[in-house]
Each structure stands twice: as C-alpha cells, then as structure tokens.
C-alpha cells in the first residue's frame, strides 16, 4: 500500500501492520531484551575481572558441574522413557490412552514447587517409595539422585511431545514397503522408524536438558542443597542475591544464559535440518 514501506514489507490489503508489529517489538524490547542486556552489562559496570572471578569461583564451578551432570542424566533418562511413552501413544490403541496422553502434560501443568515437595515426600525416608528404598541403602531424596529425579519429571513431556507427532505422521506405506521387501520388525525399527524419529528425539532431549539445567522449584526441596555437592547453579544465584552479592549472582546467571542460548541454537539448527531434509516450508 504505502510505497515507502515497500522495502521493508511486502504490500498487503490488510490493515494493522504498524500497530501490531509496533506493540510486539515494544513488548519484546521492554520485557525481554532490556532485562537481558542488564545482566550482560553488569559485567562491564563492575569490571570484567571481578565478573570472571565470580563466574569461575570454585563453588560456582561445582554448581555448574552438579547442574550439567544432573541435567544430562535426567535428559538421558527422559529421552529413553519418553521415547517409550511416545511410541506407545503414537502407534497403539488401548483403553485409557486419552487419559495417559493427558497425564503426560502433568509436569507442564503442575507448579514446580508442588512437584518438588511431593517428590521429596515420596522419596524421603518415610515416603511411599523411599521407605522401600532406604533400607537397601538407596538414597534418592537429599542427594544428587533426587536432583536427577526432579529434573527428569519436568523434562519428560518435552521428549514425548517432540517424538509423538513424528511417529504418528509416519506413512504406513513406507513400513509396508520395507516389510514386503523382506525387512523384519527389528530392521524396520532400526532402519526406518528410529532414523526418522531421531531428529525429533534429539530436539526433545535438548529441550528437556535446557529445562532441567534451568530448573529451580522442583529441585531445591529434594536436592539437599549442600554447597559443592548438591547445590545447583540456580540455587547459588538465589543464595548470592540473598547475600547482596549482585556481581556474583549476575556472573552465574550470565554463564547459565550462555548455556541456554547454546541449546537454543542447537535446537534451531536441528529443526532447520529436519525441514531442509523434508523440503517443507518453515
């Protein structure tokens, strides 16, 4: 319509471009980008040396290790269990399927603090599950295993919801063709189904990992929170803030942001590849 806008925007008969894009950008800048910048710039305000020193302090390094290791283990567990659940939901029909499908989203819907106290109650010494395990010397609550458990809980739906639609959309003709050419079920799974679902599985696992690494509410109750041992990075940020150590908190937050963006980049590249391979329009 307006020629001056032609360079930036393709003409359209529909109204409201300026106001809708304007509101979108103003919100994005105000709510997301300026606060993000604030953390990054904290480093420049108080000197990069202090910032790095705080980000690489022993207690901070220990918290990254606990966080990354636990998130990795949780993502691995979630990817295995999630693949099974997605497989069953996508390929079989059975009574109670809809209910099971709805329950998969429970970790999305249940507030993290509620999940945290509930898992702690279940897996601690006198809990429904814990009182079976503790006599055998298996301690889940207040140890690193508890962190992995809570992180797996919040991560599971990411894997299921990534893999399920891919398995559902798979054309049965492909499998039938393979079967008619003499492929047995194991071959069909390994050579057709699994490779098709793999990018989605990786996406879901990466999303679960990102969520697990940033998780706070469900973890802090069950973790035990021992500095250097079972203290996650998110908790260390909160501790630093309570001690008014803003530079220390911002430094760790910055390290976590770098991780978030690395995962986000990985997921985007993965999606890009999937679309490129399928020749679908993004």
């Amino acid at each position: 319509m307006k020629i001056t806008r032609g360079l930036f925007k393709r003409p359209s008969p529909l109204p409201g471009f300026g106001i809708s894009l304007g509101f979108t950008i103003v919100s994005l800048v105000g709510v997301v980008l300026i606060p993000l910048l604030a953390i990054v710039l904290r480093g420049f305000r108080f000197g990069i040396g202090d910032f790095l020193h705080a980000a690489l302090a022993p207690r901070a390094l220990a918290s990254y290790k606990v966080t990354l290791l636990s998130a990795f283990e949780a993502a691995l567990f979630a990817s295995l269990a999630g693949f099974l659940v997605a497989w069953v939901l996508a390929r079989y029909s059975f009574p109670g399927k809809r209910l099971a499908d709805a329950i998969v989203d429970l970790p999305f819907a249940l507030p993290t603090a509620v999940a945290g106290i509930s898992l702690t109650a279940l897996y601690s010494e006198h809990g429904w599950v814990g009182h079976f395990l503790e006599p055998h010397g298996i301690h889940i609550a207040f140890s690193q295993a508890g962190i992995v458990l809570a992180m797996s809980f919040v991560g599971l739906p990411f894997v299921v919801r990534s893999v399920q639609p891919v398995l559902q959309d798979l054309d049965p003709a492909v499998e039938e063709a393979a079967a008619s050419l003499g492929a047995n079920p194991a071959q069909r799974f390994l050579r057709i189904l699994f490779p098709t679902a793999l990018p989605a599985l990786l996406t879901g696992t990466a999303l679960a990992f990102a969520r697990a690494a940033g998780e706070y509410g469900s973890v802090i109750f069950i973790a035990g929170n021992m500095p250097m041992k079972t203290e996650i990075a998110a908790l260390l940020i909160v501790t630093k803030l309570e001690e008014f150590d803003y530079t220390g908190a911002a430094a760790i937050a910055f390290a976590m942001l770098l991780l978030s963006f690395a995962v986000m980049l990985f997921v985007n590249l993965l999606q890009w590849r999937i679309h490129a391979r399928e020749g679908r329009r993004v």
Partner: protein, 281 residues
C-alpha cells in the same frame, strides 16, 4: 503364526510398561499431594486452606494471573497478526526472539528484573527517589510472571493462523471492512479456541510460577507471597500438612487445566502445543 503372537505379546508388554511408568512417575506425585494434604483429617485441611495467609496468597496469585494473562493475549494477537498476515524483513529473527523466555532459567529471569529495577539496578535509584517499588513488591511479581509466560499465546496462535491463511480477511478488507471489524467478525471467531488454549497454558504457568517470582518477591507474608511461595514458606517451617493443603489447591488447578486442554484438543481439532510444533514455528 508364532511371529504374530510374539508381536502381540511384545505390544502388550510395551503398553503395560509405558502405562506403569506413567502411573508411577507422574500420577504418584499427584496422588501424594492429596494424601499428604488430608493426612491430618478433613477438618484440619479445611482450616488450613482458610488461613488468612493462604487466602491472601491466593488473592495475589489470581491478581497476578489476571494481569499477566490479558497482556499475554494482547501480545500474542499482535505478534501473530504481524507475523502471519504480513511479510517483512527480520520476521524469523522476531519469531526466535519471542521464544527466548522459554530458554531462560526462571531464576535468571527474576535476576534480570532485579538488575533493572532493584535498588542497585539501572532504575533503582530513580524509583526509590520517587517512592516507587518494583522489586520486593507486586509490580515485580507481575513483570516476572509476564516474562515467563511471554511466548505462550503467540506460539499457539502463530502456527494456527499461518495454517489458516488470510483469504477470509483479505476478502473482508476488499469488501470495505475496517480493521476492527475484520478482527472481531472474521479473525476472532476463527482463532477463539486456539486463543483460549494459549490463555489456559499461560494462566497455568502464571499461577504456578515459582523461580522467577521467588527472586523478585522478597517473601513478605500477606503482601508479596503468591501461592507457590506460601507453600515453600509453610514447608520450610515444617508445617507439612498445611503446605500440602495449599499445594492441593494448585494441583486441582493443574488437573482442571489438563482436562480443559484435552477437551479443547478433542472438540476443536487443536493438536495442542507440542515441542515439535514449537520448534517449527
């Protein structure tokens, strides 16, 4: 024949394993909330959830959701209108940026607002000169909640409106309908279920948000504690039954959320928000 039988048995084993896992791993924690909440009897439970602190936390939680969700709807509609109805430079960057809050840890999100509005932050001195409080006050809680729910409606609407196309709206525009009339009489009736779906996801997250809100709240009882924070405080004070009583209210809200979601998926043909679709947009 034996092959078919073993295939059937394998199928049954897979289904049983998956269902047992879902029951044990997901349902059991939900059941434990209610069992703990009622562990000291129904009358204790009823007293616990009528404590003034819990009632005021409930009020604050609903207030925060009542501000964050409408904002989210407005933003979602604006963003998806701009993105799906027009072609412009930088569109993919915009879509990626909208997703940023999903990748950021809630605690880091809260921390960002402390950096901007806190006493030692950018606007802190100016705010305190003017007697305004954002951090350790309700506005900070609202902002943090808006941040964590930011992409919810937009990512529901963008793929949906993309798939729908703009033919009907273009026809209305050519016939002389104005912007508002196009929106309310053509677009809104088409997207209402997707909009509701996104709003429910946003409301659920707004009600349950813990990490981001925890950083900016200051935990002032009766003033800046939302329900999840109140649960944390009761729990840390070893008032376990009361904490679980409060938690049962939020769990009930979560179950209702799941029911409405499923209902919307079944009746209106929405596939719902899958991680796959998320990443596609």
């Amino acid at each position: 024949m034996t092959l078919r039988l073993s295939a059937r048995a394998g199928r049954a084993v897979l289904i049983a394993t998956a269902l047992l896992f879902v029951a044990f791993f997901l349902l059991l924690p939900l059941a434990a909330v209610f069992a703990q909440a009622f562990s000291r009897g129904a009358s204790f439970y009823l007293d616990a959830i009528r404590q003034p602190d819990i009632l005021s936390a409930l009020r604050l939680t609903l207030l925060v959701a009542a501000i964050a969700v409408p904002f989210n709807l407005l933003f979602g509609i604006a963003a998806s209108w701009a993105i799906t109805r027009f072609d412009f430079i930088g569109k993919n960057l915009l879509i990626t940026l909208i997703d940023v809050p999903l990748a950021v840890s809630p605690v880091v999100a809260g921390m960002m607002y402390v950096e901007v509005f806190g006493l030692h932050g950018w606007l802190g001195p100016w705010l305190s000169d003017h007697d305004l409080r954002v951090i350790y006050a309700v506005p900070g809680i609202v902002l943090a909640t808006i941040f964590v729910t930011f992409p919810f409606v937009a990512r529901e609407l963008i793929p949906f409106m993309q798939a729908q196309g703009s033919d009907e709206e273009q026809a209305a525009a050519v016939l002389g309908a104005g912007g508002l009339s196009i929106f309310f009489r053509v677009t809104l009736p088409n997207i209402k279920w997707a909009l509701l779906y996104g709003a429910i996801l946003a409301a659920s997250r707004a009600i349950g948000e813990f990490g981001a809100v925890s950083v900016v709240s200051g935990h002032i009882r009766g003033k800046t504690t939302t329900m999840p924070l109140e649960i944390e405080m009761l729990y840390n004070e070893y008032q376990f039954s009361a904490a679980f009583a409060a938690a049962s209210l939020l769990s009930l809200a979560a179950v209702i959320t799941l029911l409405i979601k499923k209902l919307l998926e079944m009746t209106s043909g929405l596939h719902g928000r899958t991680a796959q679709e998320d990443a596609e947009s």
